[in-house]
């Protein structure tokens, strides 16, 4: 690994990460906030722009790399994680960020999504989840709610949606988080934690598509309701929420339930205390399911952050071990290997 912190570098600003391309997202799209947050956060890390590679698939979100003044590769639908795998295998020292959407990652690219997580490739993975196909103008996506009326489902979608956090946990993700486009401050904090993680750092970002699925997350982001409908997962802290922080989450068997802390029955001591480093993912999975339950707040923040071997680093190690054991390969010897004979 090349250490990026050894040499002092000129302090970069948000502007340094902006490319000269005109941004072509619809006015009001949640993508703008995510782009701005990423551009605002990267300078903090003190790493040069030319050491970043943004890799994306296809979809509105996947135009992202064009707007970053870094290296970028806008690839093909669903394949960004696979392309990122090759980039990291070739250059494990680079900072590789995958930008994808719910259709890109969970429909056409579902296979690559789970496998890149399984390998724990050392990348950041931002999934913009707007629960709709935007670029193809409004069909239901694999995260659209059942019964969703769209252009391709005039009588309502018949499909159960994926829960991206649960899929990632199921694939063995070592870092799993959720952020909201309308809460850049928390997003920024999550991006910092993701940056410090070694392995696939998966961040689902609820992102509003104001054209085809406007208001999908209003209940979670509106000032009025969000304190009641969401809960921030913070390491080492009890799961407390509510406008007056008068509610919390306790576990009843395997079922999480919301309880009042001001009615005398329960106190903070009865609540779950979040441990992001918990090795077994069961509790994180239970949290992931809370978003499906209207009686519970939707968790955001970091669900899980554990350490596992990374594919790209182990790949390099194997090469080193092979060179140590067998000596650095010699082409002439290789070609002359095995049974040979001489014709005079």
């Amino acid at each position: 690994m090349v250490s990026e912190t050894e040499v002092p570098r000129p302090q970069l600003s948000k502007k340094d990460f902006e490319s000269d391309q005109d941004i072509r997202w619809c006015p009001g799209c949640g993508d703008y906030a995510i782009l701005a947050t990423v551009q605002r956060t990267l300078p903090e890390f003190g790493i040069d722009r030319d050491r970043y590679v943004f890799v994306s698939g296809i979809g509105c979100s996947s135009r992202f790399p064009y707007y970053m003044n870094t290296y970028g590769f806008h690839t093909i639908h669903g394949r960004a994680p696979a392309i990122a795998t090759g980039i990291k295998a070739a250059r494990p020292d680079l900072q590789v960020w995958v930008i994808s959407g719910d259709g890109d990652s969970l429909s056409i690219g579902g296979n690559h999504f789970i496998h890149v997580i399984r390998r724990n490739l050392d990348i950041k993975y931002l999934l913009f989840n707007n629960r709709i196909y935007g670029l193809t103008k409004g069909q239901y996506s694999p995260t659209s709610e059942m019964g969703k009326i769209t252009k391709s489902t005039p009588m309502g979608s018949l499909e159960h949606p994926f829960n991206p956090i649960a899929v990632a946990l199921g694939a063995g993700a070592t870092f799993v988080a959720r952020a909201f486009d309308r809460d850049p401050k928390t997003m920024q904090e999550i991006l910092r934690l993701a940056h410090n993680h070694r392995g696939t750092a998966f961040v689902e970002i609820y992102q509003n598509c104001n054209i085809f699925n406007d208001g999908a997350f209003d209940a979670l982001t509106d000032k009025e309701s969000k304190l009641e409908t969401t809960i921030l997962l913070e390491h080492g802290k009890p799961l407390v929420f509510g406008k007056t922080r008068n509610k919390g989450i306790r576990l009843n068997g395997f079922r999480p339930e919301a309880v009042h802390l001001d009615e005398g029955t329960y106190s903070v001591g009865d609540l779950l205390v979040h441990d992001v480093h918990r090795w077994e993912p069961t509790l994180a999975f239970i949290y992931s399911q809370m978003a499906e339950d209207p009686s519970l707040p939707t968790p955001y923040g970091v669900f899980r952050a554990v350490s596992k071997n990374c594919y790209d680093q182990d790949l390099g190690t194997q090469l080193d071990v092979a060179r140590e054991k067998m000596g650095t390969g010699n082409l002439r010897a290789l070609l002359n290997k095995g049974d040979t004979w001489v014709v005079e």
């Binding site: 790399p65 690839t75 290789l334 002359n336």
Partner: protein, 617 residues
């Protein structure tokens, strides 16, 4: 013991056939290596079922290995068989028609019991009902003899039975006066961790040999003298192995690290297996989750500066189409190896075919020019892989290299190349920031610069959307798309400017030229040489590059009255040649999953040349 005669033969074709669990491929490979080491030229044709263990004793489970041994430079695995070894009735049934009249037939006689005959759907024993009457048939109870030889090894009957392939090999070694040392060494190494099995196989090998010495079953043995090959140091080389070595050579000569993204598929997996053992050469092999991920990761590695390769067979090439187009648009170097097999769909995974040519040429959306080349022989795979990598890097383009199951699994002696004599492999990665444009182009090749992420100050974005000329920004302007489409096509066409002149084997003009590509090389060459011996004015041209076609090909073809194009498909290159040169080329097609025999092509040449009866004049 009476002296037995030794008959000298210029060439011999042997096929070992048995059940797929009988180890025929293993002993066939040993016979090949031994013959090559002895100094013969060899050509091989492994022919096995796709099922790992089809029901034992059935026709579906028959596995064969054909070997052509020559005292001269031979080019095919042989047409008709001089010797057939049949380990069971099904093997006999599947292979007998390939045996020459009066050919040598060796059968494991005790396998022709009621059960064995029933499994092969024989109603009476072919050994007794006249089926084998026209051949020199030798009935040997191989199972019993093997068990007798192994009685003190402590192995159980099943384990002993599994050694009978080496008994058969021992017989063949006697019959063809082959030294056994190489095989003895092989057995000792292969089974070094299982000394009992090594011991048993050695005993079986020697017992087969001794059986022939002692029993006088065979009245004569055969000698195939050493071939007069060009001087040099040789080794035996299989096609898939050669691709791996060629790619490693390209990596070493270019100084580029090698990345292979692959997904296992018959008959290409051996390239992945081979390269995964070269980690001390810095070779990174990635077994991806699917074919698409395999090529996508390779594209990522190419973007990041590695020599990137992906290997597959036809169905995998279908899946890779979209990603190949990304490499076309992003103009990144990538070698795509397709070891073709019989299709469509899953087809016949272990059988050969040349039917992916048009897929390689055109099987993508949009105007998508991709360089396409084809290897002609197992050893040619080495040079082709090296050249594919060179062209990919020089022209910043994906290159499809077509091999096929026949040459991929086949092997032949290879005169080992001196790495210093390989063509130079220059790599230019741009690092200077002044006046940088991601889609500026080299004047000669039209290649765009290769700029590796991490290069200070050159950060830029690429992707699958149409690129603006020079700047590489996203651009949908009509004139720009027209320009970029033509530039991409012209870039591939210009590869032809760097190709050596096309070789014509035979007179430069005449009555007929046989134009071939890929794995038909051997039978075409043999057939044309036979016709040339007859005094016919026939020449041949064999293409390595199909896209672009060589600049001089049109002129060459027009020097001949007729053009014959044998292909293991229903006529693919012939369409391109007709379209390109307005030549009324004659197609000769075969689509049986088997390579051409030289005789099939020879007959067609004779037909065209006016019904000559085949006598030499």
């Amino acid at each position: 013991m009476a002296d037995r005669s030794v008959l000298t033969r210029d060439e011999v074709t042997i096929r070992l056939a048995g059940d797929s669990g009988d180890g025929m491929q293993l002993v066939g490979t040993e016979l090949t290596n031994t013959s090559a080491l002895f100094g013969n030229d060899v050509g091989t044709l492994p022919d096995y079922p796709a099922e790992i263990r089809a029901p034992a004793g059935t026709l579906a489970g028959v596995s064969g290995f054909q070997l052509h041994i020559g005292s001269y430079d031979i080019h095919t695995p042989g047409d008709e068989l001089d010797v057939l070894v049949a380990m069971n009735p099904a093997a006999l049934k599947a292979n007998l028609k390939a045996l020459k009249p009066s050919g040598v037939l060796i059968v494991n006689a005790e396998a022709f019991d009621e059960k064995g005959l029933k499994l092969a759907a024989y109603t009476s024993s072919p050994l007794d009902d006249g089926t084998v009457a026209g051949y020199q048939t030798f009935r040997v109870n191989m199972s019993s003899h093997t068990k007798a030889a192994l009685k003190d090894t402590g192995l159980d009957y099943r384990e002993m039975e599994r050694c009978k392939n080496f008994f058969a090999l021992g017989m063949i070694y006697w019959l063809f006066k082959r030294p056994m040392d190489a095989t003895i060494k092989f057995i000792q190494e292969k089974f070094s961790k299982k000394p009992r099995i090594a011991e048993a196989n050695l005993l079986a090998l020697k017992a087969g040999h001794a059986y022939c010495v002692a029993t006088e079953a065979f009245a004569s043995s055969y000698e195939v003298p050493r071939a007069k090959l060009p001087p040099g140091k040789y080794r035996n080389l299989g096609g898939n192995e050669a691709i791996g070595l060629g790619i490693v050579a390209a990596s070493q000569k270019s100084g580029l690290e090698l990345f292979l993204g692959s997904y296992p598929i018959t008959p290409a997996s051996d390239i992945l297996h081979g390269l995964s053992r070269f980690k001390n050469f810095g070779v990174k092999t990635f077994q991806a989750e699917d074919e698409i991920a395999a090529i996508s990761a390779s594209i990522g590695a190419a973007f990041a500066g590695d020599l990137a390769v992906t290997t597959t067979s036809g169905p995998g090439l279908c899946l890779k189409s979209e990603a190949i187009n990304l490499a076309v648009m992003a103009e990144l170097p990538l070698v795509i190896v397709n070891v073709q097999r019989a299709g469509p769909s899953t087809g016949m995974p272990t059988k050969t075919e040349q039917a992916d040519l048009l897929q390689a040429m055109f099987g993508r959306n949009g105007e998508s020019p991709v360089p396409v080349m084809a290897a002609s022989r197992p050893a040619d795979c080495f040079e082709c892989a090296y050249e594919a990598a060179r062209v990919a890097v020089r022209f910043m383009s994906p290159v499809i290299l077509l091999s096929d199951g026949y040459i991929g699994n086949g092997a032949e002696p290879w005169r080992i190349i001196d790495p210093d004599k390989l063509p130079a492999f220059e790599v230019r990665k741009r690092t200077e920031a002044a006046n940088f444009a991601p889609y500026e182009r080299d004047e000669q090749t039209l290649a765009r610069p290769w700029v590796i992420p991490g290069t200070p100050g050159l950060q830029h974005r690429i992707g699958g959307l149409e690129k603006k000329h020079m700047s590489g920004g996203v651009n949908y302007e009509p004139d720009n798309h027209e320009l970029m489409s033509r530039l991409r096509a012209e870039k591939v066409r210009r590869i032809a400017n760097f190709l050596p002149p096309t070789e014509v084997f035979g007179p430069a003009s005449g009555d007929l030229v046989v134009l071939g590509w890929g794995g038909t090389y051997g039978p075409i060459r043999t057939a044309v040489e036979r016709c040339q011996h007859r005094g016919l004015k026939v020449s041949r041209v064999h293409l390595r590059w199909i896209n672009p076609l060589p600049n001089d090909l049109g002129i060459i073809l027009k020097q001949f009255k007729r053009v014959l194009m044998p292909e293991i498909n229903l006529g693919q290159l012939v369409r391109l040649i007709r379209a390109e040169y307005l030549i009324d080329a004659i197609a000769l097609n075969k689509i049986s999953g088997q390579p051409f025999t030289a005789t099939e092509i020879e007959r067609k040449i004779l037909d065209i040349m006016g019904g000559s009866n085949g006598e030499r004049n």
